[in-house]
Symmetry: C2
């Protein structure tokens, strides 16, 4: 039995992680979890899965829930988040919170020797050097939950890293892949949220449309697999059937494929190094699909992807700026305060105005994150 | 340094194996080889690679070559073939002879404890049960050289066989994939030999056009990976870029891809479990290719594939009949004695008139092979 601490239980990855736990209740048990403000859903999850510790965002919610579930321990805030991450009974942390708030609990769980299943990409984007160093020091495995990184991780099984020639991350191109830059000027939030293949949260769906999501994944892949940026390619593949690939130095390419279903990479991370059946998953039927399409990813069309490569290569605090600026800009777009193309303008301005600091510690990263948010907000008002 | 005994050195797989040995002369050395009648090419290979033992088909050729290369040992005939297979210095046998003549040397090399790199598919088709039993008994590894089986073998690295849901063998469909059965009536040998993707020998190119090649591969896959026939699918994929796939029980599919180049699976078998660089191989560029196509393999359109499934499922001596009848029929087609569609008619008649014997020994297999050839020849005159 694997005991699981799940951060972000009410989100898209969180609820699908719960689906996997439910399907394999003899293998997995929820020991601790965190939720944000969705107390209604939290209540249902607690009733069904009976975790021992629950962390919420606000103290009032913790107090309310404590009255309803007196046998469960409740905690709250950012300290509560870390408490849930390191809860003693869990051997595995599934970190699916969104944004850089996921960093501190990941570092704490690594120091605690827990296996980390990572869906929170900001953790690696902003502090990849610190996270990987800590993981190595504590002998902790980082298992990716993102479908692309899971694909690469699966393709790498039984292979040597030294034989890798190139990682090929596939990208659906998001909601606006068939629109020119001119046509992007007046797109609405509703259009942007209409992702063709994947059912995901709002932030990541917008990031797909700008391709910032792929950019963050490039940085994530760089850290997870210790591969230089010039050996990481992005390939447009509209069907999202090939989830990513590795080209080895003998020219052989190993790929992982499947119908888009996040439960597959989630379950793989939980069951790793074994696989468990996932009976309810839709089987891949390539004859029915008929055709798979591939296109070069145009870095002039997808400027956020270009910025991500540049920030990744620059290293230091640049990826933190990239990520923080993007988070604020996407939130502003979702609130209807800026246009779609202004997202990339804000990211560009933030990067241009930042003086890079190399090898930052956690404090510096948090400072840069905060200041970048302030900077973008100052441009918004 | 791996010492290699190579059977069928002047053939398509043979010369490409020599390319790989040449590219990695610090890793591989040709210790023994067999050739058929192509003494001209044999002479060039001997001069370049200096094997210690060479087996030819006819005694006269052995005598002639002995005068030219006095320091090399020459032998001949079917005994010579086995002698080359088990030559003491070689630790690896690459068996790329065509037809059921490859069976005896494979069995001898297995008994001798050599690693077997198998391009001779008839070995597994006609005597899969004996070969796999012997390999298990002697703790010998069978490494596939066929691109499809190599793809599956590569996809299986780091995975558990028990987790396999389905093998998916891809098939280009061969030279006539876009023709109806009506249009197949009057096709010529030249048209049949014009394979769209792979440069291969004549026999296997015709087998691709009839899809018997894929049928033999289904049987081969059954034995190599111990997978029941109803878990082996064939998928038409005209570009031959995805070389084959494994679907696991969590619905995840692992595939091996690449530009069609037989040196890749050959080298993988030789370098296994490691990979070596293959600098001269053309890198896969999916953006340039643009589209990959997939279609259901129609067993009524491709009757030989249907016969192969039936013979495989029946087991016993049926696959031997399938293979022997096909060999004689293809030879007759190449000689212009029968039409293209008569190949499958001859296979069908041979299977229909055979009384299956279960669990045959090597002697029985050879007898059935001989009698089937006689039967088909009797239909030809």
């Amino acid at each position: 039995m694997k005991y699981i601490n799940l951060l972000g239980a009410t989100g898209s990855i969180g609820t699908q992680t719960l689906d996997v736990i439910r399907e394999h209740s003899t293998h997995f048990k929820l020991s601790a979890m965190s939720v944000g403000r969705n107390i209604h859903l939290a209540r249902k999850i607690i009733s069904e899965f009976r975790p021992e510790l629950v962390s919420v965002m606000k103290k009032e919610d913790a107090d309310t829930l404590k009255l309803e579930f007196p046998e469960i321990k409740f905690t709250y805030g950012s300290e509560g988040l870390t408490e849930a991450a390191v809860y003693h009974k869990g051997s595995v942390l599934v970190n699916s919170v969104i944004g850089s708030v996921g960093l501190a609990p990941t570092m704490a769980a690594i120091a605690d020797g827990k296996t980390i299943c990572l869906a929170n990409k900001e953790t690696l984007v902003t502090a990849g050097h610190l996270v990987m160093e800590a993981a190595q020091k504590h002998g902790v495995e980082l298992l990716p939950i993102d479908s692309e990184h899971s694909a690469i991780f699966q393709a790498l099984q039984g292979e040597k890293k030294d034989n890798i020639e190139r990682l090929i991350l596939t990208a659906s191109g998001g909601s606006f892949r068939d629109r020119s830059r001119e046509e992007l000027k007046n797109v609405t939030v509703e259009e942007a949220l209409n992702h063709p293949n994947w059912s995901m949260g709002a932030k990541i769906t917008i990031d797909s449309a700008t391709m910032m999501n792929k950019g963050l994944e490039v940085i994530e892949a760089h850290w997870l697999f210790s591969i230089p940026y010039d050996q990481i390619d992005v390939l447009l593949h509209r069907e999202s059937i090939i989830h990513s690939m590795i080209e080895f130095h003998d020219s052989s390419v190993i790929a992982q494929l499947g119908t888009p279903d996040m439960r597959v990479p989630i379950q793989y991370a939980l069951s790793y190094p074994d696989r468990l059946p996932l009976k309810s998953a839709k089987r891949l039927n390539l004859a029915e699909i008929g055709r798979l399409h591939f296109e070069k990813a145009d870095l002039e069309r997808f400027r956020c992807l270009h910025f991500a490569y540049e920030a990744g290569k620059a290293g230091g605090t640049m990826p933190t700026v990239l990520n923080a600026a993007n988070e604020v800009a996407v939130a502003a777009f979702l609130e209807g305060r800026i246009t779609f193309l202004e997202i990339e303008d804000l990211v560009e301005k933030s990067l241009a105005s930042h003086n890079n600091m190399s090898n930052p510690d956690l404090f510096t990263i948090e400072e840069v994150d905060r200041k970048t948010r302030e900077f973008v907000n100052s441009l918004l008002t």
